[in-house]
């Protein structure tokens, strides 16, 4: 699956999660810009796991700051699955 498709689906989930309060782009920070707390970020992983039928270990989170960071991680896991 292409990165752009993953990014687009991730942005969709974030818009739902944030109830459309703000715009979401590649450089949007999950905590800094969207004010997601640690539990919400982990819940986002559950949604992405089901979207792409993959397992996402929570240990990726220290490497995830922006929407792009998460999209890259998902892309890696999708390509390995």
């Amino acid at each position: 699956m292409k990165y752009e498709s993953i990014l687009s689906q991730l942005c969709e989930e974030l818009l739902i999660l944030t109830k459309g309060r703000t715009t979401v782009g590649e450089n949007t920070e999950l905590v800094g810009d969207l004010a997601l707390d640690s539990l919400q970020v982990m819940d986002l992983l559950l949604l992405m796991e089901d979207r792409f039928d993959i397992s996402i270990p929570v240990s990726i989170l220290p490497d995830v700051k922006t929407v792009r960071d998460l999209a890259i991680q998902v892309e890696k896991l999708v390509s390995n699955s």
């Binding site: 539990l39 919400q40 982990m42 819940d43 992983l45 796991e49 270990p57 929570v58 240990s59």
Partner: protein, 393 residues
């Protein structure tokens, strides 16, 4: 950039609390009177948020056992279990807990937090997979992180979601460690253990049940949820704490797996910390005997839980779960919850304030925990305070 820059948002939150004049995280009990009463801010206060489920903290037999150990064995062990910190009492307690559960062996840790840290860090290392319920306690998350296993969450109390994630793991599912709790600490709800075990039977793996809040509370002899459901044989590891129904401090893990003993040699939270003080071990051993024989205490505890649950329900509050010793009132927002908690304290009732992200689904909770030592009159008084504050909720 300084090392304290990351604390800026925390400082902002703290400043907001200061502006409200409410500090729910620094409550000082000026004087503890009994398992259910204390003096806070100079005011007699009913303690309804202490996890003192069986009310054993002032039990004369436990106090006498602790006093004897204190006088005979000193104030502390000054060493870890692996060095000079294992006295005969530590090993006897392990044997007694193992016998209580009918399991092969047990390990005692210095706190309940360290029990989870110590077991998970040793059990689930790099290359292993842990599947944990999303609402599991922070100690289980932290133990997984310390061990370095691949950690995947499943939706709270959702066996189908667990099965879906097990399926994705393919052959790796057979070596997966599944983590659930007997009673979840925030809402007081129970794990659907029978259905979780059915998933384990289908895909393989190991099951660890944290009975921290269900030890002494559920089951004929107080072993917890697994005993109540007759499923203890299906559980690979039971962990628990001495700091709630046993009224002490410390934690344990029991298991039939003969390898449990080997964990002592690789568990850093076991190796690199001082062992529990002799007085703590002695009071815990006595409390365990009382717990096992404490059917009457469990009966009173559940009667109190049902009285509080029914009282708050009749007042129109939204509660987190069916009756259990943890009765969580769901409120709309953080500020409302803060104010409510503070007003309860002014009415002479201490409970716990729980805010996101420590709570599931972003809810704010007024969390009560009931004790067998509460009198019906005290429960009535708690309900009366909630009734007076009803308009704020």
């Amino acid at each position: 950039m300084g090392i304290f820059d990351k604390y800026q948002s925390l400082k902002t939150t703290r400043d907001e609390l200061d502006a409200l004049g409410i500090d729910p995280f620094s409550v000082k009990i000026d004087r503890i009177i009994s398992p259910t009463e204390g003096i806070i801010h100079g005011r007699p206060t009913i303690l309804a948020g202490t996890n003192n489920y069986l009310g054993l903290t002032f039990n004369p037999e436990c106090i006498a056992a602790a006093r004897t150990a204190l006088e005979n064995e000193g104030t502390g062990t000054t060493g870890s279990r692996m060095a000079n910190g294992s006295y005969s009492g530590h090993r006897l307690l392990e044997q007694e807990i193992a016998a209580f559960y009918g399991k092969r062996d047990a390990i005692v840790f210095s706190t309940g937090y360290q029990a989870n840290l110590g077991i998970l860090a040793a059990l689930a290392g790099p290359g292993d997979v842990v599947l944990l319920d999303a609402d599991c306690h922070a100690s289980l998350y932290d133990g997984c992180r310390l061990g370095g296993a691949e950690v995947i969450r499943f939706r709270h109390n959702n066996p189908e979601d667990l099965a879906k994630r097990m399926r994705r793991l393919g052959e790796r599912a057979a070596n997966t460690l599944i983590l659930v709790e007997g009673i979840y600490s925030m809402l007081g709800d129970r794990a659907p253990l029978k259905e979780i075990i059915e998933v384990k039977r289908e895909f393989g793996g190991y099951l660890l049940v944290d009975e921290a809040h269900s030890l002494g509370v559920l089951g004929e002899t107080g072993q917890g949820l697994a005993e109540e459901l007759g499923l203890l044989d299906e559980v690979d590891f039971v962990v628990g704490t001495f700091s709630k129904s046993l009224g002490g401090a410390g934690g344990f893990c029991v298991s039939d797996h003969p390898e449990l003993d080997l964990i002592r040699y690789s568990s850093r939270p076991y190796i690199f910390t001082a062992s529990p003080a002799p007085a703590t071990i002695a009071s815990t051993r006595q409390a365990l005997r009382l717990l096992a024989a404490g059917k009457h205490l469990r009966k009173r505890l559940m009667a109190n839980a049902e009285q509080l649950h029914a009282g708050l329900t009749s007042l129109g509050y939204t509660l987190g779960a069916p009756p259990s010793p943890v009765v969580a009132v769901v409120l709309d927002g953080k500020i409302e919850a803060l104010q409510f908690w503070s007003n309860l304290l002014q009415h002479g009732v201490y409970v716990n304030l729980m805010l996101p992200p420590a709570t599931p689904n972003g809810v704010s909770l007024i969390r009560c925990s009931v004790s067998a030592a509460h009198t019906p009159e005290q429960i009535d008084a708690v309900c009366a305070a909630f009734a007076e504050l009803r308009e704020l909720a």
